[in-house]
């Protein structure tokens, strides 16, 4: 009898607490900034840090706060910048080359015979796409690699190189209709009125 009471009591208590926690979780739900979430979904999630912020989420927060501009993400490229501009109702502007240039989709590959197993690239990888252990060969998990290039700089034997991802039947997509934007220098237009007057004076 005691056993049944014990199981019933603890189970019932846990059930009541669970329901209470579930209710409170819904009732006191904390919404993150919805704009930040929307910006974050547009960003490519490479976590490469080229924009100057530690990760895409921080960059999204900085854009939402007005700290950062929308043209600092080279992996997102022209397409990403245009999407951000239309989301935030801002003027599209060409990518700021201070933060890097747009490159095609890349993949890090470790030259395994050269690898000395120093684990430095593992520590640098923001998405844990490198597999290995100290003094053992490392390798890149191709499906996980975002091509952020952060592992190249720490490698002491320079055995990591970026290769472009070959397009296959499954990965090919229709290209977006994108026209590259360039800043045009404003050339001084000859004022038709003054030229006319000059002509008159001259005549």
């Amino acid at each position: 009898m005691t056993e049944i009471a014990a199981v019933g009591m603890l189970g019932g208590l846990a059930l009541i607490f669970g329901l209470l926690l579930g209710y409170v979780a819904v009732r006191f739900k904390v919404e993150g900034d919805p704009v930040v979430d929307k910006i974050d979904t547009i960003l490519p999630q490479q976590q490469c840090g080229k924009c100057g912020y530690p990760g895409c989420r921080r960059y999204a927060e900085a854009i939402a706060d007005g700290e950062a501009d929308i043209n600092q993400c080279p992996p997102g490229g022209e397409v990403g910048m245009l999407a951000l501009a239309s989301l935030l109702d801002r003027e599209p502007k060409p990518l700021n080359t201070d933060y890097g240039v747009e490159t095609p989709e890349m993949l890090a590959v470790i030259d395994e015979p050269t690898c000395i197993g120093c684990t430095l690239c593992i520590q640098a990888c923001p998405v844990d796409a490198i597999l290995g252990a100290p003094k053992h060969m490392h390798t890149v998990i191709a499906q996980e690699c975002t091509g952020c290039e952060l592992c190249i700089a720490p490698c002491p034997v320079d055995c990591i190189k970026m290769v472009s991802v070959a397009e296959t039947v499954t990965s090919w997509k229709w290209p977006y209709p994108v026209w590259p934007l360039t800043v045009k220098k404003a050339t001084p237009q000859p004022n038709p009125l003054t030229t006319q007057e000059e002509k008159n004076l001259g005549g």
Partner: protein, 193 residues
Amino acid sequence: MSEYLLIFISTVLVNNFVLVKFLGLCPFMSVSTKLETAIGMGLATTFVLTLSSVSSYLVHEYLLVPLGLEFLRTIAFILVIAVVVQLTEMIVHKTSPMLYQVLGIFLPLITTNCAVLGVALLNIQEKHGFIESAIYGFGAAIGFSLVLVLFAAMRERLAVADVPTVFKGAPIALITAGIMSMAFMGFAGLVKL
């Protein structure tokens, strides 16, 4: 009234949970390196300890005793404490993001603070009533916070003091804690319960 005051003073000073009963030593050693974090931890612990002391008393009095299941109190109290901590975290997160920022990681850490379970069990052992449980929990938490803040202030000074190499870091902190504990033993006899 004076009885409640006696319980309060005796838990804060005479039977201090950290330095006399040696409960909750883990956060005492690990969260006392900076004064601000110590204050944050003290605040969070005060809140949770008072609440969990009261709610575990209620669970014991109205659930365990009528069913004759007092032997299950430890596991039941752990359940109650975990829920109280979770609940506090969610409500604080929603209602005051500032406080949530200050408390941060310390809130979930309190679940494993043995002083919290210790207070709940000691309440039963000492046969405290509802108000007494609340005061006992609050007093224990105030004592914990007091000692934590004092110790953090000392460790900030210790960090820049000229300590012999072998004693640097944890050893000198433990020695300091020991001396502090001896100092708190001096309060014994201040209150007789």
